[in-house]
Amino acid sequence: MKGEKKEMSTKVPTESSKKKRKRDLLQDDESNTQEEISLFSTVNKDDEKETDNVAASSEENDSNADSDNSDNDEDSDGDESSSQDEEYFEESSEEDSDDSGLDEGTSQEFGNSEENGSNSASGKTDEYEYDSSDEEDVRNTIGNIPVQWYDDYPHIGYDVQGRKLIKPVQGDALDEFLEKADDPDYWRTVKNKLTGQKVRLSEEDVKQINRIQSSTHPMGSEGLYEPWVDTFTSEVMEMPVTGRPPDKRSFIPSLWEKQRVGQMVHALKMGWMKPRGEIRKMKQNRDLNEPSLDMWKEDNEPEITKRYRMHIPAPKEPLPGHMESFNPPEEYLLDEEEEAKWDSQEPEDRRFDFKPQKFESYRSVPKYSRFINERFSRLLDLYLASRQRKMKMNVNPEDLIPKRPDKKDLQPYPTKEAMVYKGHTDMVRTISPDPSGQWLVSGSDDQTVKLWEVATGRCMKTLDMGGKVTAVLWNPNRTVNLIAAVVGSEVILINPGLGDRLLCSNTDSMLESHTETADDSAKKSAVTWSKYDITEKDSGFRVKISHSKPVIQVTWHAKGDYFACVQQDGKSQAVLIHQLSRRQSQAPFSKPKGIVQRVMFHPVHPYFFVATQQHIKVYNLVKQELHKKLQANCKYISSLDVHHGGDNILIGSYDSRLCWFDLDLSTKPYQTLKYHKKAVRQVAYHTQYPLFASASDDGSIIVSHGKVFSDQLLNPLIVTVKVLRGHKTTNHLSVLDCKFHPFQPWVFSSGADSTIRLYV
């Protein structure tokens, strides 16, 4: 029986019988079938699938029906074939009852399920004819693009011929609702997005979906419980293969893992990497209408990265022109003259490195003899030429020079000789203006001290000193009217009797008030203080301090009570500090440390500047210690002045240099000025204006602008502004002293030509 059936089965399945079978299977639901039929007429692939499914489900139905039949088609055992036989039998039996009005296409669809049968039966069909496994659905040719793009159009795509596929009529929401209410199969009706048509899922489809949803095998329970072949045993052997103890590294956390995790954490933090959830969210949020590839999008690479991309493409070879043609126009061909010229030229000088030639045909063009050379040089160019962008600094050298302020901005400063104070008969060694600016005192080699009215040049008084006057200095204290004048080894304090009467009388009474005590005279051995008697007082002389050695300099403290003297060859007593109020003198330095040239009091702090030949030492008078030692880069210091702020000092030297020290900066000169041609005799700061002046043997007084900033960060600004001349040179000496007016931007100078000059 079985054998028969098998035979039958090999014979019987004709196309019509299959159709019957299909009919039969779908009989239970007539409407559905009809719809599918209508689908079949227009659609291929979808239906194929469906019918496949249907076929499969039908088989399954059958196999379910007779429960023991769980075999596949591949199994060609007798048991299985029996069931098939039954099927076929049924089908054939139904053949009559069913109306076989189906077209061929429909019936062909079922060929899939039973290829063998159909092959054997029809004989002409190709094995792959119906294989649609990797065929595209060609009903709609729009491809795999979002169908939403067609939402606004009446059509839904294009068929193979390029005709528009019109969307099937869609009911409105009411229709939908009615349908929902009326149609009992509404719940399993889905819509085909590509075609816009509704498809009712078959019973089998629903089951399959249910199975998928419940995470069971989608094809049912068939073949799920095959016996397990334990090829590699899971049992643990009691004896390990090796007796090696486990490594330590297997117990400690992996370094590489840690590193990798660190990298990932960093990437997350920086936003280079995103957690999975976020990526999903991004995908959801992405605009579906946005084209996935926008080739016209602007190149958003920032300018800066473009600039840093150092790539320079190699230049392209020029395209050949008409001249290179095998058949160039006549005008490109060389005539004899040109050819001779071309031949005579050096290869480098030629405008083109070949001769245009004419050939009859392309075939007759010979091999290009320089081909290898040209390729080679081209390759050399590509490989060896360094195509590299080099950053080049474009600096104008003039910009590197610091800007000098305009001289006009630095005004006022003395520019012109305004007054000559005439009266002395020998060289005027020293001058000093009165702190009020009304008077000027001068000491000369004609053994006189003269007092001048600044504004008119009137000599108000002349004092006979009985010796060459080497230094005069007005007391800086404005409440005391006193001049210290140096004659040889004596320092004489003079009350000039000019200016405020009250001041003069106060000064006198102050000097008178001192009463000499016994111990005073005992102490002083180096110097002798003595008073002048009444007769001499009219001349203004008040106190005389006699030293043992010639005095070369006298300088007042800012308060006007102390003054210091420098003795020539004084050894340990080279520097003496006298106190006026107590008529006391002291020699602060026990040991001579070089030949002292100049001394100076600090204007504010208790410091004392001592200039030896090559150094300036700053002593703290309170602590009695060396505070600082400055190195003047010159051979022989001649003069010294301290800025009224106290942080800058200026020295002049006999080797014609001028050094500006900024005590805050260094012990070396902040600036060395070498604008004098001969020895510098005197340097002076202005007390109010940012000016300083230097007098030199070359007959000039050079006025410079020297601004000291209160801001610690700014270094002094030094600009030379004016060279003043006027003094005549006599005996290699010219200008001997220069001093600034206390509050006007004027400078006084005294010279070897026995004049004093004022420059305003």
Partner: protein, 433 residues
Amino acid sequence: MIMAEPMASMEHQQHLQITFFTKQAQYSIPDAPYSLPSSFGSQELNGIVHSVLYEGATKDAVDFDFLIDGEFLRTSLETHLEDKNISAENVIEVEYVERAAAPRPETSLAHDDWVSCVRGSNDLILCGCYDNTLRLWTRDEKCLTTIPGHTGPVKCLAWLKHEESDESPCMFVSGSHDQTLFVWRYQRSSNNIDCVFACKGHAGSVDCVAVNQDGERIVTGSWDKMIKLWSTVESEVGNQDPEDEEESRIKKKLKSSGQKVSLRVPLVTLAGHKEAVSSATWISSSSICTSSWDHTLRVWDMTTSQPTAVCEGSKAFFSIAQSPLSNLIVSASADRHVRLHDLRTKEMKGTYTSHTAWVSSVDWSKNNEHLFISGSHDMVTKLWDVRSSKAPLYNLVGQEDKVLAVDWSIPDLLLSGGADNQLKIFNYKQTVN
């Protein structure tokens, strides 16, 4: 149109269209344009005006000066137009005025020492000297008297009251290095001089003094940076501390050799200048202007004793003077320039540069708003016209040393005193305006 006779060499030169006009009606000429070579200077223009005005008669011809846009023509027309940037295309209107006659040196009055200050009044000339004396001269070279009294060089003086009759004798005031101010009365008929009172209070040399219109207020400036106001009216200074007065009177007695001198203290002291006060002048009945070495001009209201304006300069001022007509101020500085200031706008209106040294003193003409004089240490006194900034009208040479003081109080006399102990008097003939 009248063509000037062209010379052969001037054929190629540029010619300018010029019209002449004048504000002095007696010299007016027809208003016709002239085509003149651009190389013409005032000399040639003068010749043209003469030829039109006097038709060749040169006998008592008046010389003229020419102004283009209010500036004196001192060079050729060409360079002047270039300098002033005036277009040569248009017709140039040239004003001509009668040329101020050259001041004539009249006489020289010899002193014993430097003349530091000088003031004239009617026919009297008062000088202050460095030998601590004042000298009173008449304008015909007669020394009326020499007044000792100061113990320091006399630096400044001013007339309080001009002589009217014997009943009201003239009065003047003098300030000195000795920090005092003396007010003197001079009886001409008896040639008697007496000191009315002395003013003490300054702590520095009294450098300037100014008296207001009615002679009741004296303002002084000193090297001690202060400005002090004094009164000459007896009743106003009654509330003095008698003891103090007594004490100082005794002092004074000793000084002025037995002469009884009453002492006055200042009504008001004004502080504000940072340096010495160099000059002061009354600019109205109630306000003064002072100049100082601290580079400022300050205006003070004397009724409230408050400063009202500060005018910053760039150089120290040594002397200022105000024109009674134009109310402009000229100032003298150490840098050779004389500067013209307008106090109302507080700006400098002009710089007059010709001196070669320190300018010590300036004074305005009392009846010509354009003229002022300046004395300088270059030994020259210069007569300036405000409209000519590059060159003065005349240089008054004669002084043999620094000029320390100039004065133009007497309209027809220019006075200058200097370090050569001479007081020079120049006669200046006023032009008809």
